[in-house]
Symmetry: C2
Subunit: 358 residues, 2 copies
């Protein structure tokens, strides 16, 4: 069968021929519908992140998948069920993080990540998965089910961010997303949809006219061009933010966020940067942290509960937003377009087979 | 009556004569028993922190007090009740933070702090306080009641730190206190007493023999000399820490803590540093934050609920620890000794009057 993979030493994906997988005990065979492309895939291709499966010289890409159960293999699933797989798998038998259903909290070495770290992903005509790492979603979500994984990433991050503010009566009014990529925009739409915030902002580095700026403004949020207003000037130019969601991986943002937060605010860090040395006024930031009860939480991956919530969230997002967000879904003959990285591309997916209601 | 105050332009406290206060409606008159001295008092004297009351050229010191109600002034208090005052007061009438009982979450400008920011403290023979800012404690706690305020600071910080880890099953085993001052040692004793941690550490910069190192080791904790093992080497030399409590105000600690934490760990920042620019590998720290789900929370002050818990905690701390911690309680004739800052001084208090059970 066809799969989209990156080969060792290469920086571009290719279509390769791999054997169709056969489900083992407690696994089902899933016919892949669509698989989303995101920043992590691009980081993988650049070589900054990820790991090939042991003993293999290629990695099948893709961790944002939706598919249909083709062979339920005697499990509780039915053929025709629409499913989304989670990403992390136990590397050498279960460990305590997987046992308690929190693989997202496992430290390095205690997980593999399908399509990212040491395990093949879902960009293939079929994949198998143990049933415990699948979430059944409504059939109607088949077309956009590939958005559930990225939404689940934000569900988890917000869970941790809100928990950090649960020891007092937190009354957030303002929230800012740093980054107008697809995860940033999805998160912004979630902020708007949740009605938790009176004012929302999204920070990017694009000039109008730009499709992401249009989406931001259609959502009712304020677009901030960080070339004019750097993140540490947000509180002076606009207002201190009760919640900041960092989705760019620009390393200085982690520290500028401390200044950009309102008193008692929290910053959630999501975008993974590379090593970068720079100077900060660490004393002032440290003091600001304390005297205004601020918090920063890092967040990676998500667990099955976050995927379930994400499925509900997907239903709640405006159709017009989702239409503008997904700029292209490409068949296997056209797959390279899904990896385009230009200013008109926001969110793309590769379609391996069409969904047909039974 | 006598009060210990710092005058504008001076860096040493003096005994001054001030009028005995008279309680207004809903206030009681408290005869001061003892008032503790801490790092904040020293910062005030150095001029790095704090603010004189409007229109006054002196500030009565002291925010760690215990006293006896001398005139209950028609309130629900009885004369003879042993009380501890909280520190923050509303500056210009109540605001929402005070209304909801969380003055510790008020931003700058929305509070004064008795003995620190814009309001006289408790280092005087008498003080008055509105009853809502007093906590009644058992008579037996009169001698060491001045420790309740510093303990409450840690109660709040831990509350926020634990909240930040409440979105998953956190199983902390190791905790480190940065700083072997009186707040650091009190916190270390609280860690040991709570039985939450299997291994505890306290980081200082003192050579043996040293009374704080003796206390640390008597508590069963490991003393780490940061001149040999800097904080960012803790995880290599000992282990990654599930919880770190920063009580020195050394600005680099806030950032070194990110490295010193175990995966899923949290750092609570308490010690307030001055401005200080330095270089960090911000990219690596940002990445470490994310990939290991770490958190940092800043914490300042405490509310009445934390004082109530602190009173219970004080009862639970070993008597031998408290005996070693409190190195001196000095009468008004000897008060200068309470401000000594040498290696044999750990925690001191000024005694304004002796407690006599009625």
């Amino acid at each position: 069968m066809d799969a989209i993979a990156v080969r060792k030493g290469e920086h571009e994906p290719s279509v390769i021929e791999v054997p169709k997988p056969e489900p083992e005990a407690n696994e089902v065979l899933v016919r892949t519908l669509r698989v989303g492309v995101d920043g992590t895939d691009r980081e993988l291709l650049e070589g900054g992140h990820g790991e090939f499966p042991a003993g293999e010289d290629y990695l099948v890409l893709g961790h944002e998948a939706v598919g249909v159960v083709e062979d339920s293999n005697g499990t509780e699933y039915d053929e025709g069920d629409v499913v989304v797989p989670t990403v992390r798998r136990p590397p050498n038998g279960l460990n305590r993080y997987f046992e308690r259903g929190e693989p997202d909290m496992a430290p390095e070495g205690e997980y593999s990540e399908r399509g990212i770290v040491g395990a093949h992903g879902f960009m293939a005509e079929y994949f198998t998965s143990s049933t415990e790492y699948l979430v059944k979603i409504p059939n109607e979500q088949a077309p956009l089910g590939f958005l559930i994984e990225p939404i689940s990433i934000t569900e988890k991050a917000l869970c941790h961010a809100y928990a950090s503010r649960s020891a007092f009566e937190w009354e957030p009014e303002s929230a800012a997303v740093l980054g107008n990529g697809s995860l940033g925009l999805l998160t912004l739409a979630m902020f708007v949809q949740s009605s938790k915030f009176e004012r929302t902002y999204c920070v990017g580095r694009r000039s109008r006219p730009d499709p992401t700026v249009e989406i931001i403004e259609e959502l009712g949020a304020t677009y901030v061009d960080s070339r004019e207003t750097p993140v540490d000037e947000l509180s002076n130019e606009y207002e201190g933010m009760d919640l900041i969601y960092e989705a760019t991986g620009y390393a200085k943002h982690a520290f500028q966020t401390i200044d950009a937060l309102a008193p008692n605010g929290v910053g959630a860090l999501l975008g993974v940067p590379d090593s970068w040395e720079f100077e900060i006024d660490g004393g002032r930031l440290h003091k600001e942290f304390i005297l205004h009860n601020k918090a920063l939480v890092g967040s990676v991956n998500s667990h099955i509960g976050h995927f379930e919530t994400a499925s509900d969230t997907l239903d709640s997002l405006p159709e017009s937003f989702l239409d503008s967000l997904v700029t292209g879904v490409y068949g296997i003959d056209d797959w390279e377009k899904a990896f385009a990285d230009d200013d008109t591309t926001i969110k793309t997916a590769v379609e391996f087979s069409a969904y047909e209601e039974r």
